[in-house]
Amino acid sequence: MTRVGSALAFSPEIVLVLAGAGVLCFDAIWPGRGRVERWVTLGAMALAAVCTLLVASHPELYGVYFAGSLRVDATTTFARVLFMVTGTLVVLSSWGGDGEGATAEYYGLLLLSLIGESVIVMSQSLIMLFVGIELLALPCYALMAIRKHLAGAVRAALKYFLLGMFASIVMLYGVALAYGALHTISYVNGLFPDPASLGTARAGLAMVAFLFLFVGIGFKATAFPFHFWSPDVYAGGSAPIVAYVSTVPKVAIMLALVRVLGPGFAAAYPVGRTFILIIAVLSMVYGNVVALLQDDVRRMLAYSGVANTGYMLIALAVGGAASTAALTFFLTVYAFGNLGAFLVVMALGEDRAVSMGDFSGLAGRNGLLAAAMAVCLFSLAGTPPLGGFFGKFALFKAAVDGGFAWLALIALITTVVAIGYYLGIASRMYGSLVRPHEGEAEAAVGPVAVPRPLMAAIVTCMAAAVVLGVFGVTLLTAAR
């Protein structure tokens, strides 16, 4: 591939790097309130999206670049578009920030973390993957604490940073072990070859490496029991960044995990598959049950995120092309449902804990906000005809077809549990339309005002949940 070709293939990232660095430098020379930077950021993401589509329209640009380090393919395109869209929504959500939340650093770091996500998805070697993860994580640590006057935000950022670093170290150890066992860190054709070709000892070591890698990645993806940082961090962190961090990195990590393991891993390594199965089941059960007990909605969503990671892991445990396709769709609907829900929480209380009680009577105080929350939650729950239903259905179907009917059954049962807490919010939002008596005191107060850009972001998430349900599968099939 020519140099020009590779420059073109990575034009979205190049745009983001230039914009990200540019925004930071611009602010250093000409300090402002972030107004210019915000437009530059939006423009850069739009341009990056256009570049992505241009790359996608020239399939000859698809391929592996830089000596087997990065791959540009349909998955990359999908991920880039999703990242740009979700990134735009995050920028919109913090549009009306009071200055501290929307500085040049904020936009610069956000752009850099987007590049990290792209690299994670594109990478084809463990070192590149590690670089991508760090490129994503370092800006996020800083972003989490960007609202310095909030004590909770700083504490959350510190926790996020320390545990994130710990996870990175565990993963790096896994990389070293993988190199020892497999004599390669490239996963252009999947990291793990047929165990027969390795011999017993090396295959065993490969499994140990897998465990370390998986634990490191499990931290980032908030799989049980490596999720424990997420409720605290989500509860305390800066609201738009929590919405972002709880959604987009998970998508990137999952797509990368699919690439690392390859379609044949689950069948070839029963120990690895069992490990993923255990983690998946525990995540689904624990996440959903504990979410049921929460009163702080950010914590509830954190545990719901753990459960959703469990659903995603089903695809990895089952393996095969069908489950990868199912996972891709699931990730898309998860991204919009989860982002939307977090943004609604942010609309209700950016600087404080939002409890279930805050939702009481929301339908009467801001009907659109309540409707958006209901749609996003019911999409997460998997109610037809919303996107979440098809996402979960595709995963369950892949599980049944792969001979894991029991796994699908557990997933289904935990889904019913999940409906419990999603419904808890819905009934509070709409339940107080259902007043017990005329004139009885209402806990909820006055209308909820939401800045227009944030509302636009929320409505986009709601619309995506609906459109992905009614037309999504058709669109995806057509695109393929």
Binding site: P385, A394, F396, K397, A405, Y430, G431, V434, R435, T474
Partner: protein, 494 residues
């Protein structure tokens, strides 16, 4: 009219109308009400068009339209109509029209109410014409939400409890039903096309074990909706608290969804499980008949009495379905239709009585015939129709169901006679007191006009006419239903 997706139009009219209602200015209440009536009238007119185009005497699915929705998992937007669904479609569109007319008197949050009414109609009609399991489920859930709000916002003093109970019962039921539908998919032909699933079931390709599991899951969803004893406890609460229009549609249409589901899916797709379970179903039906009537007899609240009479009357539907011979199925469908007409009428009348006397207490309601003669006559008429006086509609449904029941389960059905006696007892007692007895000291007083309002007459007169016509000459009705009844009975060999 070739090429027009007639059934989609049926759903589209109320759906589009509900969106338009949202866009109308909130203050223009008369405009909103008028528009809602016009839309409901259009839908009803369209359902009559469907009737005129319906090939009577055929058991086949008609006016089928199908568009692939998610081909990868065998999901399609598929609608169809047969002798089973046509009466229920007519019932749903007629009752919605009458409710829209009755809504003319409403003065609280008119816009939202009209929106919910039209949305509810989309769901109700959708359930009866859907031929795709997921689509069926979507419409099934769509019905739940507007009804929850109708009870919750416009209901009586205890509406919060009643609406939440209604919501939780039916939601749990429908989630389990969804599990059953998914099992039909996974163990079946890997498509949600209900006709394909039915064909699979009739070819005996579900194992007996699978049939039991699926039947059980679906049964829970349907049983809550009917409601079949002992899943009925949400019904009296919901009815007592619901506004008149909510009660009419709840009793008139929503309860039928359960019976329809049993016939449309359980019986045809899972014939072996159905046959094995049918004696128990018959027992539950007869318990419902007797228990509902006995409890109705003890009620002091007029509306609650009518609610328990619904449990009793729906027992005949269950009995007819359990019998699963042609008379039983014809009777079950007839009873569903008749119950919708007659109980709908009763709930309208109870609402009108309540508006005048501000009480529903039977003991305090007396001498209706003296204060508002027309209302008294209509209430007596509806009571007679409901208790099964020959020559009126109630007799047709009950008699045919019982005939079917006797053919298959003679001994069990014999007990249903107790219910019939009790039904006569509570209706005659109530009628005697509410309509004819002279007022006493503690009786509720009404001193308004002695005539019924035009809106009130417009809401109940059509129902009275149908109750009479159906009682005198039910043949056209059975001409529509019987071919399907025979076909279904043949499937299970009865």
């Amino acid at each position: 009219m070739k090429g027009i997706p007639v059934l989609s139009v049926l759903l589209l009219i109320p759906l589009a109308a509900s969106v338009v209602v949202l866009l109308l200015p909130q203050r223009q209440e008369r405009l909103i009400k008028g528009f809602t009536i016009a839309a409901a009238a259009l839908t009803f007119g369209w359902s009559l068009v469907l009737l005129s185009r319906f090939a009577i005497g055929s058991a086949a699915m008609q006016m089928v339209q199908s568009t692939p929705w998610v081909p990868a998992i065998g999901m399609s937007y598929k609608l169809g109509l047969d002798g089973l669904s046509l009466p229920l479609v007519l019932l749903a569109s007629l009752l919605t029209l009458l409710c829209a007319i009755y809504t003319w008197r409403l003065d609280k949050q008119v816009k939202v109410f009209c929106f919910l009414l039209l949305l509810l109609q989309v769901g109700m009609l959708g359930v009866f014409v859907a031929l795709d399991a997921v689509l069926f489920y979507v419409f099934w859930e769509l019905v739940l939400v507007p009804m929850f709000f109708m009870i919750g916002i416009w209901g009586g003093d205890n509406r919060r409890y009643a609406s939440v109970k209604f919501f939780i019962y039916t939601l749990v039921g429908s989630v389990v039903m969804l599990l059953g539908l998914l099992l039909l998919y996974f163990w079946g032909p890997r498509t949600f096309d209900m006709q394909a699933i039915i064909a699979w079931g009739q070819a005996g390709r579900f194992s007996l074990q699978q049939q039991y599991w699926i039947f059980g899951a679906l049964f829970l969803g349907f049983a809550v909706k009917v409601p079949i004893f002992p899943f009925h406890t949400w019904l009296p609460d919901a009815h007592v608290e619901a506004p008149t229009v909510g009660s009419v549609l709840l009793a008139g249409v929503l309860l039928k969804m359960g019976g329809y589901g049993l016939l449309r899916i359980s019986l045809v797709a899972l014939p072996k499980a159905f046959v094995a379970f049918s004696p128990y179903l018959a027992v539950l039906g007869v318990i419902g008949i007797v228990y509902g009537a006995a409890v109705a007899l003890t009620q002091k609240d007029l509306k609650k009495m009518v609610a328990y009479s619904s449990v009793s009357h729906m027992g005949f539907v269950v009995l007819g379905i359990a019998a699963a011979n042609s008379a039983g199925i014809d009777g079950a469908v007839a009873q569903m239709f008749v119950h919708g007409i007659v109980t709908g009428m009763l709930f309208f009348l109870v609402g009108m009585i309540y508006e005048r006397y501000h009480t529903k207490e039977i003991a305090r309601l007396r001498g209706l015939i003296g204060t508002v003669p027309a209302l008294g006559v209509l209430f007596a008429f509806a009571s007679f129709a409901s208790l099964g006086l020959p020559g009126l509609a109630g007799f047709v449904g009950e008699f045919t169901s019982l005939m079917g029941g006797l053919q298959t389960f003679t001994a069990i059905t014999a007990f249903a006679v107790i219910g019939i006696v009790l039904t006569a007892a509570y209706f005659l007692r109530t009628m005697q007191s509410v309509v004819f007895a002279p007022p006493e000291e503690d009786s509720a007083v009404y001193e308004g006009p002695r005539t019924m309002a035009g809106v009130e007459l417009a809401a109940v007169a059509p129902l009275a006419a149908i109750a009479l016509a159906m009682g005198v000459y039910p043949l056209p009705f059975f001409a529509i239903v019987d071919p399907v009844g025979r076909a279904l009975a043949a499937l299970v060999g009865r």
